[in-house]
């Protein structure tokens, strides 16, 4: 655990310098622990792959005392916990919505059914949320279906699209430009003002994609 200055009222804690599950587990543990403590004078926390950015009230802490407080408050010891919330997301993996499925099938020499099977059999970790509100970076995608970003990004990726970029996968919470490979679509809201938490996902959750049929997708409100 390494502290680094970020700004007049922010400090960033690094837990490592590569993307892997072990470091993500530390980020998650520290983030959930601090959230639980609900310390006065902590204004914002942004967890990501290897770090947590913390914005604090400088009328409560200075740069030295915040480090002391964080050292005292973060406990990275203890057993692995397997009680992460699992969010299940129904996906229609059809070529009408999975715009890059056919191309991916050619590149990977796998059938579309095999790609679907591989993508939906993994329990993904939420590593970070950003880029768009509710856009969760999920990993790790099986190497067999890992695909680089498109050389020329699309101007508009439809809301609900399930996408792959290298070993990461994600759901687009709204229409957006983007360069990820689209393999399916969900009707599930990932950024929803009706939810108290705004998003059903949070760093530390796990995500399972559940393949559904075309008729089920339409029944759920999907549009082809």
């Amino acid at each position: 655990m390494q502290f680094k200055l970020a700004s007049v009222d922010s400090i960033i804690i690094y837990f490592g310098n590569e993307i892997n599950q072990n470091i993500a587990q530390k980020v998650k543990r520290a983030y959930l622990g601090l959230k639980e403590l609900n310390l006065d004078g902590i204004i914002e926390m942004i967890p990501s792959y290897t770090s947590i950015l913390i914005t604090y009230d400088i009328f409560t802490y200075d740069y030295k005392s915040i480090q002391k407080q964080l050292k005292k408050s973060i406990n990275l010891e203890g057993k692995e916990t397997n009680d992460a919330k699992v969010v299940s997301i129904d996906v229609y993996y059809g070529t009408e919505v999975g715009l890059d499925l056919e191309n991916m099938s050619v590149c990977t020499k796998l059938s579309i059914d095999e790609i679907i099977e591989i993508h939906s059999s993994v329990l993904y970790d939420v590593y970070a949320i950003g880029f768009l509100p509710g856009f969760a970076y999920l990993a790790s995608v099986d190497e067999r279906i890992a695909q680089p970003r498109l050389s020329s990004p699309r101007k508009k990726i439809p809301k609900g699209s399930i996408a792959i970029a290298d070993t990461q996968t994600a759901v687009y919470p709204q229409d957006s430009p983007g360069g990820w490979n689209i393999i399916g679509q969900t009707t599930r809201e990932l950024f929803d003002k009706k939810l108290d938490t705004l998003s059903p996902l949070s760093v530390g959750n796990k995500v399972k994609f559940n393949p559904i049929s075309k008729s089920e997708f339409i029944k759920q409100g999907g549009v082809l």
Binding site: A6, E44, S48, T50, I58, S199, V203
Partner: protein, 304 residues
């Protein structure tokens, strides 16, 4: 009782101090770009300091008053009329039912703040009225003000007028020095690059909005091309591979993968919020201790 928007403003949004505690799911802080002008507007109106306000970025916004109350404008210097009579900024003005309030041409600076006694009675979304258009959050339906919008507010009576002393009214120049705390990936910049950063003068480009301000000038080289995406704070200075600094402001994205050389002191970002493209920007280093003391001084001056 309300104020009604009677023309079609180009870009005016309801704002406040910002939306906090949702950055972990990618929701930006938003809020007023120039807190100095915002806080003084509320102080002049004797409002609580977190009262909402309208931020106006382009000329010409007109309101009809359906209420007896008081209003103020602060921020950029601009034409300001009540029933076609020119009025001063940074001063409380009484308005009556039927009055027409016009914020005309912006003369110096870029953002005008228009506040009303007691603020606008608009329901907050996730703790704030701050409008973030890309997130469709805050304001009226998550959007900028449009012709016909009704902004409810309470009536108030006034016996005296309040005007800010001239020495507190900012003067807008075409050059600005920003104080920078070296931070984040500063170790990945060679000494001569840091020296260059602090000795060069940069131009503000047209790529300047509520998200950030792109500068143009001497290229700053970084030893690394990108970083693993991490949280971005207000004022952070990204150095993308083209070497041209970008200062991230209120509507910034919450995480990003460009290296950052440091962060502009927040209270200096409020001054940056008022500059125009082609303004000359230079940077001075400041220690974290001094930065925190300046920051505290700034906010303390409003609480007394």
């Amino acid at each position: 009782m309300s104020l009604e928007v009677i023309n079609a403003p180009l870009f005016a949004t309801l704002q406040d101090k910002g939306r906090f505690s949702y950055t972990s799911i990618g929701v930006t802080n938003s809020g007023v770009m120039d807190e100095y002008s915002y806080l003084y507007a509320n102080k002049i109106l004797e409002n609580s300091l977190d009262t909402n306000i309208i931020e106006i970025s382009f000329s010409n916004v007109m309101f009809k008053s359906n209420v007896n109350t008081a209003v103020v404008i602060t921020g950029a210097k601009c034409e300001f009329f009540i029933n076609d009579i020119a009025k001063r900024g940074w001063q409380l003005h009484v308005v009556k039912v039927g009055d027409i309030i016009k914020i005309g041409k912006i003369l110096e600076g870029t953002r005008v703040y228009f506040g009303v006694k007691g603020g606008f009675d608009v329901e907050k979304e996730f703790g704030s009225n701050a409008t973030t258009i890309k997130e469709e959050l805050g304001g009226l339906n998550g959007d900028k003000l449009k012709k016909g919008d009704i902004l409810p507010c309470k009536s108030s009576t006034f016996k005296h007028t309040i005007r800010l002393k001239d020495k507190y009214i900012p003067i807008f120049k075409n050059e600005l020095v920003l104080r920078v705390i070296l931070s984040y990936q500063d170790d990945s910049f060679q000494e001569q690059e840091i020296k260059k950063f602090f000795s060069s003068t940069y131009n503000v480009t047209n790529e300047f909005n509520r998200m950030g301000c792109k500068l143009q000038g001497d290229k700053i080289a970084c030893d690394i091309n990108g970083i693993i995406s991490e949280g971005i704070t207000f004022g952070a200075i990204q150095i993308p591979s083209d070497g041209q600094p970008i200062i991230l402001l209120k509507d910034r994205q919450t995480i990003g993968g460009y290296p950052k050389i440091g962060s502009v002191l927040s209270i200096d970002c409020f001054k940056l919020a008022q500059v125009k493209p082609n303004c000359k920007i230079s940077f001075n280093p400041i220690s974290i201790e001094e930065a925190q003391s300046k920051h505290k001084e700034f906010y303390k001056s409003f609480s007394v």
